[in-house]
Amino acid sequence: MAGSIVSKKTLDRLRETFKRYGQEVLGDPDITVDFFATDYEGSVGVLLTSPRFQNMQYSERQDSVWDYLLNNPQVNKDDMFVISRISMEPEAVEFIGALES
C-alpha cells in the first residue's frame, strides 16, 4: 500500500468537514473520522463511523455524504478532490493502513 502525500492541513480540514456533516446531517456530533492510504498517491480513503448509518442503505449513505460535499459552500472543493472513496460503517471496524493525522 503506497503512502499518501496529503498535507496535514488538508486532512485537518477534511476531518472538520466530516465532523460538521455528522452534526448537521446525521445529528451525530460524535461521528468518528479516520483516513486510510490508498494505492493512489495524493489521495486518501475516508472511513466514517456513526450508529446513525444503521438505518441507511449503502447507497443512501453514499448519496448523503457526497451530496453534502457537493452542495455545501463551506466545503473546499480542492480538498474534496483528494478523496478516492468514502466508506461508512454503523459501528467501529478495525482496518489496516490508517493514516496518522
Binding site: Y40, Q57, L69, R85
Partner: protein, 140 residues
C-alpha cells in the same frame, strides 16, 4: 521486478465489447430482480470501459500488464482522464461512489436481498444518468 513491457492477453476491441456485455448483464440482472448481484457487477462496466480508453489513449492493441488492476482511480489516471474528472464535481462524486462499491469486498459475499434494489437503482443513476453518469461521460 515489474514487467513494464508485458501485455495482458485481452485486446482493446475485447475491452470495448466487454463493457457492452457487462452493461447487458447488469440490465439482465436488474430485469430479473437480482439486485445484489447487479450492484456487484455494475462497477465492472466502468473498469472495462476505462481499460478500453487506456488502450485507445496509448495507441495499444492490448492493455499493459501493469494495469491489470481493479482500481478505478489508477485506470482513470492512465486513461488521461484524472484532470478532467476533477473539473466535473458531480461526475467525480459518482465515480468515487462507484469506486467504493468496487473496492468493498463485502459486496462479493452479500446474500441476495430485495432491499438492495435501492442500491441497484442508485448505482444505475451513478452509471447512466444522462447528465452526470460516469458511463455517459465515458461515452458508453
Amino acid at each position: 521486478m515489474v514487467e513494464l513491457t508485458k501485455f495482458t492477453p485481452t485486446y482493446k476491441a475485447e475491452f470495448e465489447q466487454l463493457a457492452r456485455d457487462r452493461k447487458e448483464d447488469f440490465e439482465a440482472l436488474r430485469d430479473k430482480g437480482r439486485w445484489t448481484a447487479s450492484v456487484y457487477l455494475g462497477p465492472y462496466i466502468v473498469e472495462a470501459r476505462l481499460k478500453f480508453k487506456i488502450c485507445e489513449v496509448l495507441k495499444l492493441e492490448r492493455l499493459p500488464a501493469i494495469l491489470k488492476t481493479h482500481d478505478l482511480n489508477a485506470l482513470a489516471i492512465y486513461a488521461g482522464l484524472l484532470d478532467e474528472l476533477k473539473t466535473i464535481p458531480h461526475i467525480f462524486a459518482n465515480f468515487n461512489r462507484i469506486n467504493d462499491i468496487h473496492q468493498e469486498v463485502a459486496w462479493r459475499y452479500k446474500v441476495a436481498a430485495p432491499f438492495h434494489q435501492v442500491d441497484s437503482d442508485k448505482l444505475t443513476d451513478w452509471l447512466f444518468n444522462p447528465k452526470d453518469g460516469v458511463l455517459t461521460w465515458l461515452g458508453l
